[in-house]
């Protein structure tokens, strides 16, 4: 089973599990039908969505398995060797005893993506506690440093810090004074 098939199966399994959870949770929805049930109650549509989603997930898993089997069969029948194209930077080749070359893709951890999520989490966590200005300045500095190439960080440092402070202050005053929106002052208030 190749990587693409595993991925598609994973999608089907995720939706199937989600549907089961959704159907089970729908049982705790209270219903109110004082004049008798002449149609649907508040539980009916969620149950319908859940069961439909379950049926489609199972169909998706089955069709993925069938097409994977067909693909495998056609590969076995084919005399020509097949190769998967992948990012050359993340690939190592292993010499197989049979003489064929096997390719293994090295998984690269999306560090910048994960760190961006963590920064976002902390930004929202401190949004009300520390206030808009402090949390935004902190977030802007952290995120913009993260997105700057490593070798350029030193050169950009002063600009990024000043830019973060000035742009946050401008945004704060424009939104609170001109657009009359409430933004949390936090510990500065």
């Amino acid at each position: 089973m190749n990587k693409a098939t595993k991925k598609e199966l994973g999608i089907g399994v995720f939706f199937a599990l989600l549907s089961i959870f959704y159907i089970v949770a729908s049982r705790s929805i209270s219903t109110f039908t004082p004049f008798g049930n002449r149609g649907l109650d508040s539980r009916s549509i969620p149950a319908m969505i859940g069961w439909l989603s379950m049926a489609l997930s199972v169909t998706y898993i089955v069709t993925t398995l069938i097409s994977a089997r067909r693909q495998l069969a056609s590969q076995q029948n084919s005399l020509e060797s097949t190769a998967e194209v992948c990012d050359p930077d993340n690939v190592i080749c292993i010499e197989d005893p049979s003489g064929a070359k096997r390719v293994k893709v090295l998984e690269v951890l999306p560090t910048k993506l994960l760190l961006s999520l963590i920064f976002l989490f902390f930004y929202f966590f401190f949004y009300q506690r520390a206030g808009f200005i402090l949390s935004s300045v902190g977030y802007l500095i952290a995120q913009s440093f993260l997105l700057t190439e490593k070798d350029k960080r030193k050169r950009w440092a002063l600009f990024l810090i000043l830019f973060s402070i000035v742009s946050t202050l401008i945004i704060y005053f424009v939104f609170t004074k001109y657009f009359t929106l409430f933004l949390p002052k936090g510990i500065l208030g």
Partner: protein
């Protein structure tokens, strides 16, 4: 109608703030459209909260100006960078970039802007003429008609977006699942709140839209390596092209505009599809198809006329039925609701003056778009050079202000992360996002009307087939599903070659 439109122009021109917001909106839209990696929808999501404090007409005019600017801005990067700023400008690259490589970038830009203006104006005129008529028709709709239109929209979007119809349908159902969180329509029963008071009010549409479109885009860009592309130099005098370049293009313009309008009306597929279809039709029906892709005006005109014409098309179902045609109109729907207006057949009666003000603003925004593009092109090209490390964090800050300002609670901001991660995961898994959004938006409409219809019919579902309009839409839904299923799973001819 004409009188109302003139009144709309009157309202726009009597308050300078209206004109200022249209100019700002159009410019912002062009910049967002031009920057590869950022889309019109992200721009709309970001600027939606800014319209809170404005009068409804002014705020919505600004949003529609961003929409028009964004749809056109993509042509700049398509021609000068050979990277479409938005999916709507993919086909513009095919002939725009070769023309720029030949040293005719100014001519390509000029022609593309001209075609964009024509496409937008043609579609806006048709939108202004058709919308009130359709609204008069849909005003007679009852719960069964609304229910079947909702089913039709959901199945159509699931069939037309993405490669797999099952994934499309699962995405729509996934969106519907999130929409059921909170209080149920009609009897206000608590659903999926798990004892949380915050969840009782459900997930806010704007938090879902901003998270799914803007935050996921930012996260996606943060997770991928950015490479600086070379921007081609250009010289543009006057409009950038001569009358001889437009010779024989009349039919191409009208055909492409109609393709854009028609595709725009269908839910879920807008400019991103229409530009490719219009380009391929222009190529196949041309007397010199071999010249397409070498840098000829025909290709640029077909692509840019059709993608901009989808603006008017996508606005028609939004205004007359309250069903958004694409991601951008989904945000506009949020904008209407934010300003206390419910798009649908009654909109023309309850907020007629504001609607015509928006129509007038859209025409003005189209002309402003042309002016900004012709006069301010150098400035926009400079913005293309702004690095992502400065731009992306700022977008997050502005989006979070919008989410917080919804109800002054941090809960909606957590929604941004949730839907941002969902959006990112969906894009990596190849699950299309438009059905999710439409499912989220239409679930309430679907449930309310189905339950009401069944109440009226004493639980008899077959009543839906006794009403011609609802029966027609249900049949259309089944046909669109069956056609897509046939296309995906039909037995393919196996070609064997003997060696």
């Amino acid at each position: 109608m004409l009188q109302m439109l003139l009144q709309g122009f009157g309202t726009v021109f009597t308050a300078p703030i209206n004109i200022l917001m249209i100019v700002i909106g159009t410019t912002v839209g062009i910049v967002f459209g031009a920057l590869p990696g950022l889309t019109t929808v992200a721009g709309l999501s970001m600027f939606l909260p800014i319209t809170y404090a404005m009068a409804s007409g002014t705020g919505l005019s600004m949003l529609t100006a961003i929409y028009i600017g964004g749809m056109s801005g993509g042509l700049i990067s398509a021609i000068l960078l050979n990277i479409p700023g938005t999916p709507s400008s993919i086909a513009t690259c095919f002939d725009g970039s070769p023309m720029a490589r030949r040293g005719e970038a100014g001519k390509a830009l000029g022609l593309a802007v001209f075609a964009s203006v024509l496409g937008t104006i043609i579609s806006l005129v048709l939108m202004i003429v058709l919308s009130p008529t359709l609204a008069n028709l849909t005003i007679k709709f009852g719960p069964w008609e609304y229910f079947s239109v909702t089913v039709f929209a959901l199945t159509l979007i699931a069939s037309l977006t993405g490669k797999s119809i099952i994934k499309g349908l699962l995405s729509a159902l996934f969106g519907m699942m999130f929409a059921t969180v909170g209080l149920s329509p009609i009897d206000s029963a608590k659903r999926y709140t798990f004892g949380s008071l915050q969840l009782t009010s459900g997930f806010n549409l704007l938090a879902v839209l901003v998270g799914l479109y803007a935050i996921s885009e930012v996260l996606n860009t943060a997770g991928t390596e950015q490479h600086d592309a070379e921007i081609r130099d250009y010289k543009m005098r006057g409009l950038g092209f001569g009358l001889s370049d437009l010779k024989g293009q009349g039919f191409n313009i009208i055909r492409s505009a109609l393709i854009g309008l028609g595709i725009g009306i269908l839910p879920g597929i807008g400019g991103s599809t229409s530009n490719i279809i219009a380009y391929s039709i222009a190529k196949t029906s041309s007397k010199y198809p071999e010249k397409f892709g070498t840098g000829i005006p025909d290709g640029i005109i077909a692509s840019e006329t059709s993608n901009n014409a989808s603006i008017g098309g996508a606005m028609i179902p939004l205004l007359t039925l309250g069903i958004p045609g694409d991601g951008a109109t989904a945000i506009l729907l949020g904008g209407f609701m934010l300003h206390g207006m419910q798009p649908g057949p009654l909109l023309f009666q309850t907020n007629g003056a504001t609607v015509y003000q928006i129509f007038a603003s859209m025409i003005l925004a189209t002309l402003v778009m042309a002016l900004v593009m012709y006069i301010g092109m150098r400035g926009i090209v400079k913005i293309l050079k702004v690095p992502a490390n400065i731009l992306l964090p700022l977008i997050v800050i502005l989006c979070s202000i919008g989410a917080f300002a919804l109800n002054n609670r941090v809960f909606d901001m957590w929604g941004l992360i949730l839907f941002g991660v969902i959006g990112l995961a969906m894009s990596k898994a190849g699950v299309p996002a438009p059905p999710f959004i439409l499912g989220f938006i239409l679930e309430s409409e679907f449930e309310t009307n189905l339950r009401r219809g069944l109440e009226y019919a004493n639980g008899n579902f077959f009543e839906v087939f006794n009403r011609p309009i609802s029966a027609t839409f249900l049949v259309l839904a089944v046909v669109s599903l069956a056609a897509t299923l046939y296309k995906q799973y039909r037995p393919r001819k196996v070609v064997t070659e003997e060696v």
